[in-house]
Symmetry: C3
Subunit: 160 residues, 3 copies
């Protein structure tokens, strides 16, 4: 039996633009209100943490193919619905800009400034052939044990 | 450190028919068993709360386009898989009818009758250009702070 | 007010290969670390529990159609993204094999060996016209009340 901390742990599995927005709005909102927040990026979600211009030498062909097909960071992501070959996503981003809403890139920086702990999943990194140097700075890497340690006493656990 | 209430907080992000069914079966089941339940409708999920026949004047062209493309209420939604241009979804709905299963529209009314708190996300409303009068009656509106206040002490938090 | 047990309850709604992998990696990781773990398979997730070679007589035409279209067990599932008519999924499986990563089939057996409780959702079974004998051995069946009883005191609740 255990009590819960004042904390939130998110698993971001998806790299959809809209789901990433939801995750970062929740994370920055919770961190601003004094909660300690961790986000675990697994599988497709990992591509949200990729550096914009980085090519690691020595990848296998199949790892290279994954590298080409996955978005590089927040700017390459699309909507989970109505993406319409980019038109729907572009429309959504232009609405957000017009209404002065915070962009996904800004939310990611804001989360890091608010000490949101960002963890890249080691199993997913291995599966997709990604190394730590391909990912943005200031993040941790860890597996399921790291996730369980953080989420076990969290008030709010979500899989996004 | 805090203990948890006897409560459930759901975020409904999707407007897929099947995921909405899952959310309302969980919510009405929990409310029937005496738990206090809140559902936060964000992003695409917001369209589940739209009134059937409502056109708000004064929308921008881009807001009108979103209005046309998004389903109006539960009846306009489709399956997340095997939608098949409506055929799969229609098939599923006809099976449910034949087996006397509760429809999505009925589950929504049942949830309201059981005092499930329904909250429309203000950030998503702004993003999609929706106003409160376009949404069904008897609901609250709120942002991430409203969600955190409700979910912080909930036993069960899910993102659907 | 109640305290939480040392336990995890997952709802597996999806039958995507990647999401199923995530669910079983979390479940086996938690069970290995001494947590008691339950997984509730609902809707599409139910097809992960289907026996490989089983045809139940007496199905209606529409139930047969669902039977044909849904995957039979873990080996028939595909990625949620980049499935590419099977090519993407096959590529992912071959990478996993090359890197000696545990397959989805092995993770399912491992979960059962670690006493992870596997529950098939009765409402979904009814909706899809599936009977208990079509599903793998050693599992429970139950509805929303079974889920609530397990998840109410769980530290970690996720909807996958």
């Amino acid at each position: 039996m255990s009590e819960t901390d004042n904390s939130m742990s998110l698993i971001v599995f998806s790299n959809d633009f809209d789901k990433a927005m939801a995750a970062f709005i929740l994370a920055t909102g919770a961190a601003s209100s004094g909660m300690s927040v961790s986000i675990f990026f697994t599988f497709w979600g990992l591509s949200l943490l990729r550096k914009d211009n980085f090519s690691r030498p020595g990848k296998s062909l199949i790892e290279k193919m994954f590298g080409w097909m996955l978005p590089k960071g927040p700017s390459g992501t699309g909507l989970s619905k109505m993406h319409f070959m980019g038109a729907g996503t572009g429309m959504m981003k232009s609405i957000m800009k017009k209404k002065n809403m915070t962009s996904l890139e800004e939310l990611l920086s804001m989360a890091q400034a608010l000490n949101v702990r960002i963890v890249a999943c080691t199993t997913s990194m291995e599966m997709m052939g990604m190394k730590k140097e391909e990912l943005i700075d200031g993040i941790d890497i860890g597996g399921v044990a790291t996730y369980l340690a953080a989420s076990k006493n969290s008030n709010i656990n979500l899989f996004i």
